[in-house]
C-alpha cells in the first residue's frame, strides 16, 4: 500500500510499534453474529451442531457465578480424591460396588465417584461447543444439587454446605429457601 517515498521530511514520525496489532473481542460476539446470520439464512448450523473450539483458554472472571459455585462444590465433593481414581472402575461397576459395600467402604466410594465427577466435568469444560456442553452442564448442576442435599442431611450444621446448597437451589429452582427437610443452621 504505502511507499517509503511517500513520507515527507516534514512529517515527524512517532513510534507506534508498541501498539498491539490485535484486540480480542468478548467471547459472546461470535455467537451473536452467527445467530444473526443464521436468522437471515446466510449460515447453516454445522451437521451435528459441533463447532470448532477456540484456542483461547477460559477465564474464571468470565464464568457465571453458578458455575463458579458448582466448580467449588465439585472440588469440595471430589476433595483429595482427585488423582486417586485410576480409571479401573467403569461407572456401572462403581454403582454396583457402592450397593455392595459396607459402611466403612462407602467413604472411599464417595472419594472415587467425586473424582469421576470432577474428571468428567473437566473433560466437558475442554469443549467450547455450547450446544454440546449445555446439557452436560445442566446434568452436572442437577447432580451437584442432589449431592449437596445429601451432604446437608449428613451434616446439617455445616455452614459451608448450607451456603453452597442455597446458591445451587437459587440457580436450579430459582429459590434460595428450598432447603432439605432437616434444619440447617446458618452461621
Amino acid at each position: 500500500m504505502r511507499d517509503q517515498e511517500e513520507q515527507t521530511s516534514d512529517e515527524p514520525s512517532v513510534d507506534l510499534s508498541g501498539l498491539p496489532a490485535e484486540v480480542v473481542p468478548g467471547d459472546l460476539l461470535e455467537e451473536r453474529i452467527v445467530r444473526v446470520l443464521r436468522a437471515r439464512g446466510l449460515l447453516r448450523p454445522p451437521a451435528g451442531g459441533r463447532v470448532p473450539s477456540r484456542s483461547k483458554p477460559r477465564r474464571l472472571g468470565q464464568t457465571p457465578a453458578w458455575a463458579v459455585a458448582a466448580a467449588a462444590a465439585a472440588l469440595f465433593l471430589g476433595g483429595m480424591a482427585v488423582g486417586q481414581y485410576q480409571g479401573r472402575n467403569a461407572t456401572v461397576e462403581l454403582l454396583a460396588a457402592i450397593r455392595e459395600t459396607d459402611v466403612a467402604d462407602r467413604a472411599a466410594m464417595v472419594q472415587q465417584t467425586g473424582s469421576l465427577y470432577v474428571t468428567a466435568l473437566a473433560a466437558l469444560a475442554r469443549d467450547d461447543d455450547a450446544s454440546a456442553t449445555g446439557p452436560g452442564a445442566e446434568a452436572a448442576l442437577s447432580a451437584l444439587l442432589a449431592a449437596t442435599r445429601e451432604l446437608a442431611r449428613l451434616d446439617p450444621e455445616d455452614g459451608r454446605i448450607a451456603r453452597v446448597l442455597g446458591i445451587l437451589n437459587e440457580q436450579v429452582n430459582g429459590t434460595a429457601s428450598d432447603l432439605p427437610a432437616r434444619q440447617v443452621i446458618w452461621f
Binding site: L16, L19, E22, V23, E30, I33, R38, R44, P52, R54
Partner: protein, 197 residues
C-alpha cells in the same frame, strides 16, 4: 490438495464455502482469523469503549457476509472488511458530531501530566487525538494505507490526509513527551491547550 491447504484454507476458499453452502465452520474460521485485527482497528478509529467497537464488528460481518458474493477479490478480504468497518465507524462518529476534519477548528489537546510515571501511554494518546488526526494516523502508520487511498476512503483531499497525519504525529509526540524532557514543547503546558492546527 496439500495437507497445508486442508489445514489452513485461504480466505477465498472459506468465503466460497460461506456463500455457496452457508458453511458456518468456514465463517467462524474467517471470523477468528480477522476479527482481532479488525477490533484493534475499529477501537482506535472510534477511540471508545469495546462495546461500541463490538457493535461495529457485528455490523461489519453481517454486511460483509451479505455482500460476499459480490466481492471481486481485487483487494484482500482484510482490506475489504476494514473498509466496511471504517464506513460503519464513520456513520457512528458523524451521528455523534465527532467526524471533523476541519483543520481550522480549535482543538483541545490533553497535555502530558507532570509525573512521568503517569504519562499517557500510546493507546491513551491515540484515543485523545481528534478523530481526523487519529483516523489518518491509524490508516497510514498502522494499517499502511497511502494518502490517495485514505483520501478516497474518507472522502477527503490527499493534501488534507497529509496535513492531518503531520498534525497527528506532532500532537502524539507532544502528548508522549516527558515534561521537562529534551524537546521544547513538552514541558510548557500546565493546562489543556489548543492544538497547532
Amino acid at each position: 490438495m496439500t495437507r497445508r491447504e486442508q489445514a489452513d484454507p485461504t480466505d477465498r476458499e472459506l468465503a466460497t464455502r460461506v456463500t455457496e453452502e452457508g458453511d458456518e465452520i468456514a465463517f467462524r474460521t474467517l471470523y477468528r482469523r480477522h476479527t482481532p485485527g479488525l477490533m484493534a482497528f475499529v477501537s482506535r478509529v472510534l477511540g471508545s469503549a469495546d462495546a461500541e467497537a463490538e457493535d461495529v464488528i457485528q455490523d461489519t460481518w453481517i454486511r460483509a457476509v451479505g455482500a460476499l458474493e459480490r466481492f471481486r477479490w481485487e483487494a484482500t478480504l482484510r482490506t475489504w472488511l476494514m473498509g466496511i468497518a471504517l464506513n460503519r465507524s464513520r456513520e457512528i462518529l458523524r451521528r455523534a458530531g465527532k467526524w471533523v476534519f476541519d483543520e481550522s477548528a480549535a482543538l483541545t489537546i490533553p497535555v502530558p501530566p507532570h509525573d512521568p510515571v503517569d504519562r499517557l501511554d500510546l493507546e491513551g494518546a491515540l484515543r485523545a487525538l481528534p478523530v481526523g488526526y487519529r483516523t489518518v494516523l491509524v490508516l497510514h502508520d498502522l494499517e499502511g494505507f497511502t494518502h490517495p487511498e485514505i483520501g478516497e476512503r474518507l472522502g477527503i483531499a490527499v493534501g488534507t490526509s497529509r496535513s492531518q497525519l503531520f498534525h497527528a504525529r506532532r500532537t502524539m509526540r507532544r502528548m508522549l513527551e516527558a515534561p521537562g524532557g529534551d524537546t521544547e514543547e513538552g514541558s510548557q503546558h500546565a493546562r489543556p491547550r489548543r492544538a497547532d492546527v
